[in-house]
């Protein structure tokens, strides 16, 4: 039995090493000037200086954060309203809602983005505004995750009972929703919201297909830098982008272990 366990640990360590090597290697590459023999030589932060000298870097980072957060906020709000109404007043529609929310999961970014582009780009007015289309597309991309997150959170707090209690105390259904339900499910929602943000943060497919040159996020910048400017500068950007996503991951992880005891848990 002991032996078996040791074998298991070796497997885990091997997988972890396999997963970490590309990250660590790319980071190492970014801080050395020369890596043509076995070990890297000439420690330097040139790549980072070059990155900071790229005038678009920080604006792009900010743009990426905005375009990752706004659609998530919109979708959470829309989904809260829709799920609340469906679960309380029209429980039979839940299956239908679920279907609509799961379709994006099956079609993924490529088809979604080209279908939106082909439909709206020739339409006059705000409908063909690339950034408007991008926000809409992002809302759809994250729909499955937000849906799951909110539904699980609503289920875990026994919503009908809470509402009944609030109503007995004189609140209307809408009041009960905002004052009782929402505060109770915030931890569960924030996990799926953060996951969605980190997913949008790294997007390249949808933004490239829909926004084209109209909106540049860090993935687009990274792509251009590695192809046009220099691979080394790109590795510095890579490191910064990775640290940002890591930060989000850590937040998610902490939130998850915090909520683990009481509210949401995805696996049943």
């Amino acid at each position: 039995m002991k032996n078996h366990k040791a074998g298991g640990n070796i497997v885990l360590v091997l997988i972890m090493v396999y997963l970490l090597v590309p990250l660590l290697l790319t980071f190492t590459f970014s801080v050395f000037g020369n890596w043509t023999s076995m070990l890297p030589k000439n420690f330097t932060l040139r790549a980072y200086e070059d990155m900071l000298a790229t005038p678009r870097f920080f604006p792009d980072l900010l743009r990426t954060i905005i375009i990752s957060v706004v659609p998530v906020a919109i979708t959470v709000l829309i989904m809260l309203l829709a799920l609340y109404t469906v679960l309380i007043f029209f429980p039979r529609l839940e299956k239908f809602l679920q279907l609509l929310c799961m379709i994006p999961y099956a079609i993924q970014g490529v088809i979604l983005s080209v279908s939106i582009v082909s439909l709206y780009t020739r339409v006059p007015g705000f409908l063909s505004n690339r950034i408007f289309l991008l926000v809409g597309a992002y809302c759809i991309v994250i729909l499955p995750y937000i849906f799951q997150g909110i539904r699980n959170a609503m289920r875990s707090v026994n919503m009908p009972m809470l509402i009944e209690a609030a109503e007995m105390l004189g609140a209307s259904k809408l009041e009960a929703f905002f004052k009782v339900i929402v505060p109770n499910i915030v931890p569960g929602i924030s996990v799926s919201a953060l996951l969605s943000i980190s997913m949008l943060f790294g997007d390249w497919v949808v933004i490239r297909n829909i926004a084209g040159n109209a909106y540049e996020n860090v993935s687009i910048l990274l792509y251009m830098t590695m192809n046009i400017v220099s691979v080394r500068t790109a590795t510095a950007m890579f490191t910064v982008v990775f640290l940002v996503t890591l930060l989000i991951s850590i937040l998610v992880f902490n939130l998850q272990s915090k909520t683990e005891g009481g509210t949401s848990r995805e696996e049943r």
């Binding site: 997963l19 309203l81 099956a106 082909s118 993935s219 991951s249």
Partner: protein, 283 residues
């Protein structure tokens, strides 16, 4: 829930934002793709000509083949690694499991352009590993071509492993220790337990995970594009090319190609449901 005189329909208005969003950015665009796929180029009516054209062209045949081969191979290898990873995680100490999960979590978002960059640095023409292999004279790695089917598969496997492992870990939690103990009491060796009890129990989860991986790799194209630009026929790359950039947009052909990709992905999901004997995904 229904109350006399209480117009619950009044609350239906809260569904409106959701319906507008879904109609505008999901339902109508997808329907347009479906309609366009069966429309003659620059004309009206119904035709299967777009599909006939696509299937007759060598580059699209090649794209279809490449997409399917890469999806199958990368999913199979990813699943195999994930199987052993999840199995090991199930019997690991909680501390070890926590670290393992954290790394899976961290790397599961690592795909697309950054992944391509990392692979160029490792396995590109002047990649660190390639140069190293040249120095020590390890031919298979020294001559490794990242810009090929094998190279793409290598990169795809990387993002399949964390996803597959995370999907399989809960399933392994369902394989109870008591069963293993009973099997051991009956003198079954560990591999016998897994062959006759473990894997059959895990079957649905394994197949489900496989189909998710297939769909995932069929639609993934950031990594491939960042590595190959346009020089490699892949379904997803061809689709984007027909709608975006380049001079002429080929809406009808692009739509037909999208329908083919959607069919492939739904096939993966349907096979899953069929084998699981229940409709829909787990809720």
């Amino acid at each position: 829930m229904k109350r006399n005189g209480n117009p619950r329909w009044k609350y239906a208005i809260t569904l409106l934002p959701f319906l507008i969003l879904v109609l505008m950015f999901e339902v109508v665009p997808l329907l347009t793709i479906l309609v366009n796929a069966f429309k003659p180029v620059d004309g009206h009516g119904f035709t299967l000509g777009n599909f006939a054209y696509l299937f007759s062209k060598r580059t699209y045949q090649q794209a279809l083949l490449n997409s399917v081969v890469i999806a199958l191979v990368s999913s199979a290898i990813g699943l195999l690694v994930a199987f052993f990873g999840a199995m090991a995680a199930a019997s690991a100490t909680s501390r070890m499991k926590k670290i393992f999960m954290a790394i899976l979590d961290m790397t599961s978002n690592f795909s697309g352009v950054p992944l391509a960059l990392a692979y160029i640095i490792m396995l590109g023409n002047v990649g660190v590993f390639v140069l190293f292999a040249k120095q020590v004279g390890f031919a298979p790695l020294a001559s490794f071509n990242l810009y090929s089917t094998a190279g793409l598969i290598a990169a795809y496997i990387y993002f399949q492993i964390p996803l597959a492992t995370m999907l399989l870990i809960p399933a392994f939690a369902g394989v109870r220790k008591e069963w293993k103990e009973s099997a051991a009491l009956m003198k079954a060796r560990p591999w016998q337990f897994w062959a006759y009890v473990g894997i059959p129990i895990l079957g649905p989860s394994i197949i489900g995970t496989f189909s998710v991986l297939i769909a995932n790799s069929l639609a993934a194209y950031a990594t491939a594009y960042a590595l190959m630009i346009n020089n490699y026929p892949l379904l997803a790359i061809k689709i984007s090319g027909m709608f975006v950039g380049e001079i002429t947009q080929q809406k009808e052909l692009g739509s037909a190609l999208s329908v083919i990709l959607m069919l492939l992905m739904s096939a993966a999901i349907l096979v899953n449901n069929r084998l699981l004997g229940r409709p829909g995904k787990e809720s």
